[in-house]
């Protein structure tokens, strides 16, 4: 049916778009078919999305090629973006999401900004109004290219169908190359409909676009080795870049060879086993006291795939004040952005780390760090009242869950407790919104991770505030019968904001009370999802058993102490020397 006769997805008759070419004949490929062919050729099997008027040709192509791609329909475009994000974070593969123009595209923005901040490889495809209507404030027209400039690695508007194959290939490459990130391709409806010869199969390697990875820099390496040899108190500060470079093994080898103590960012949790003798833990605002103390005392900071984020460094001017810096990264723009290094090494960590590894004789410093750790690792605080002990639950869960378990979380106090008390065996098992800190992340990301790893245990730890931000995705869970476990730590507060109001705004609480939350058990049941409420100080075993033994999806509603805080905390704008620790007296 020509588009001019079709009712569009918003219920209205589709406007008769001037300049819109007729739909391709069934046997001829059009732009939309080409999108599917290229995705398939690039190894994409699963996409997440939500249809609408301007993307209907692509959905029509999906309908005409059943089985070509597995399309997961979420109940909100933000969730499609987050699910693709979870798919990519947990697997290291490209995540793909699709939406329509206008509100579809704007609904994606938060999830794509999240992927940009945390360097997640995504391909985002949106429909756009037909080229002839662009710039006329047409129905559901938004300037998607303009909107996405600051939150993507790159974005494209495809104006001619002939350009579509090359743009898509380039977009897929860019999203995954070097420092990964989201790449957005906006395709007007007439371009999707325009005829295009079927993409010819490519010879092996033909599609490969050369990566511009610098070779090993011998002079820089020699300078870095000299700094390592001179250091008496070195610390390795490692982050998400190690994971993105698929260099976890090379990193572990580097640590063993040098024997230098390690701190990690939130994004680097799991790079070393939590109980590894050289692992000082997470640094930063809610980091382990021993990690922050070791960094403040060190004389050399070897920064590996980390970016001096202010949550990690505290007040930058006071961060690691005695340290010289060697910075390893793939992104030249990260080097010197915040802390100028003495030496920077750019390139592939899998090559740089072994080339830099050399045994260091820093026994006294190692012994000092071991003592710091004995005194200042994360401690389970004493029980308070008769509330469910959420922190003990997380510690025990990490001891009992198998190593392939993926833990997603939302944003808030519960997120920090996951970081502090769950000992991750590998960073890809930890799905957390680091740079954007977007509430609503957890459930759709868990859905994406479960799609990527159908046989794995996926658990989402959420707060009562965050869970409500994408609660509609319970419907997606039900539709695909995904065995995701959802734990809601319900303190009836926007707890992290409440904590900061208590500590830094003289206790004036403003708009953080959620004591009128819905009954989460009934909410889940309304979506056809089994749910349990687990309460009380002795309920840890029951909660763990429910998480680990239940087949199929399950929501666990766990009321927790209302006013429990995250400790330690470095106040916003303060130095990491100024950790406020819990007064347990």
């Amino acid at each position: 049916m020509p588009p001019s006769q079709a009712a569009n997805a918003d219920g209205a008759q589709a406007p008769d778009h001037p300049g819109t070419p007729p739909a391709a004949q069934d046997d001829a490929a059009n732009g939309a078919d080409t999108v599917i062919q290229i995705l398939r050729r690039q190894g994409v099997e699963t996409v997440f999305g939500y249809p609408g008027g301007a993307i209907m040709p692509l959905y029509d192509a999906l309908a005409r090629q059943p089985g070509a791609l597995k399309h997961v329909l979420t109940r909100h475009e933000q969730a499609a973006g987050f699910a693709a994000n979870g798919f990519a974070r947990s697997s290291g593969q490209l995540g793909v999401c699709i939406a329509t123009s206008g509100p579809g595209a704007t609904n994606l923005i938060t999830a794509i900004a999240d992927a940009y901040m945390d360097s997640v490889p995504l391909l985002v495809i949106t429909g756009q109004v037909p080229t002839g209507l662009m710039g006329t404030d047409a129905f559901q027209e938004t300037d998607v290219l303009g909107l996405t400039l600051p939150i993507t690695k790159h974005s494209y508007l495809v104006r001619r169908v002939e350009d579509l194959p090359a743009i898509l290939e380039e977009a897929i490459h860019l999203a995954q190359e070097g420092r990964p990130g989201p790449v957005w391709v906006d395709i007007p409806k007439d371009v999707q409909l325009a005829p295009l010869p079927a993409a010819k199969p490519m010879a092996p390697g033909e599609a490969a676009i050369a990566d511009d990875v610098p070779g090993l820099d011998d002079m820089g390496l020699a300078q870095a080795r000299a700094l390592l040899a001179e250091a008496a108190q070195p610390i390795i500060y490692a982050g998400g870049g190690v994971v993105l470079a698929e260099a976890v093994e090379a990193f572990r080898g580097f640590v063993e060879t040098t024997g230098a103590p390690v701190v990690t960012t939130l994004k680097g949790l799991g790079l070393l086993a939590a109980d590894h003798p050289l692992n000082m833990g997470m640094l930063g605002m809610h980091g382990a006291p021993c990690a922050n103390r070791a960094v403040q005392a060190c004389d050399l900071l070897v920064v590996v795939g980390a970016r001096f984020d202010d949550r990690a460094t505290g007040r930058l001017a006071d961060f690691a004040p005695h340290a010289r810096v060697v910075h390893l990264d793939v992104d030249a723009a990260e080097v010197s952005k915040l802390r100028p290094p003495q030496v920077s090494l750019l390139g592939d960590l899998n090559r740089l780390l072994p080339a830099l590894a050399t045994p260091l004789s820093t026994e006294a410093w190692r012994a000092h760090c071991a003592e710091l750790r004995r005194m200042g690792d994360f401690r389970l605080p004493p029980e308070k009242g008769d509330a469910f002990p959420a922190l003990r639950f997380l510690r025990r869960l990490s001891e009992q869950a198998d190593a392939h378990t993926h833990i997603a979380c939302d944003v808030g106090q519960h997120q920090m407790w996951v970081a502090q008390f769950y000992g991750f065996p590998h960073p890809r098992r930890h799905l957390t919104s680091g740079g954007l800190g977007a509430m609503g992340f957890g459930l759709p990301v868990a859905i994406g991770a479960q799609m990527a790893h159908p046989g794995a245990q996926v658990i989402n730890i959420s707060g009562d505030g965050s869970f409500m931000m994408n609660v509609q995705e319970l419907a997606t869970l039900r539709r695909y019968n995904l065995p995701v476990k959802m734990v809601i730590f319900d303190n009836q507060y926007l707890g992290m904001v409440r904590q900061q109001q208590e500590l830094f705004y003289e206790g004036r609480l403003a708009e953080v009370d959620l004591s009128d939350n819905p009954d989460f058990v009934q909410v889940a049941q309304a979506f056809g999802i089994p749910a349990l409420r687990i309460e009380g100080v002795d309920a840890v075993d029951a909660a763990i058993e429910a998480c680990l033994e239940t087949q199929g999806p399950l929501l666990l509603h766990i009321p927790v102490a209302r006013e429990q805080n995250v400790w330690p905390i470095v106040g916003p704008g303060m130095s990491n020397d100024q950790m406020i620790e819990e007064d347990v007296a």
Partner: protein
């Protein structure tokens, strides 16, 4: 002194906007800007003078990172012109 840059950029949708928004969001403002498209339409030649209190080499690296930017030369400090942003630096002490 106001930092100056010369850039060659692909004339794709949004390429000039990307340059301008990078300047703004990284803490600089444009003092002078000249843009010329090659006769064959393949390349923008951009001359940019900016003002700001942050390190101009930080801005240079952010501009160089843009997919459309094919070449950047920084003209702002003696000795810094044409220094590739990713050259290893060894500072004293």
């Amino acid at each position: 002194m106001n930092p100056q840059f010369q850039l060659l950029a692909r004339p794709a949708d949004g390429s000039l906007e990307r340059i301008l928004r990078t300047v703004r969001s990284r803490g600089f403002e444009v003092r002078d800007m000249h843009v010329r498209l090659d006769d064959d339409g393949h390349r923008y030649h951009v001359r940019l003078k900016v003002a700001g209190s942050r390190d101009p080499s930080m801005l240079a690296r952010q501009l160089e990172k843009l997919c459309d930017v094919e070449h950047l030369a920084a003209l702002h400090t003696a000795g810094a012109a044409d220094e590739p942003a990713n050259a290893p630096r060894m500072a004293a002490g």
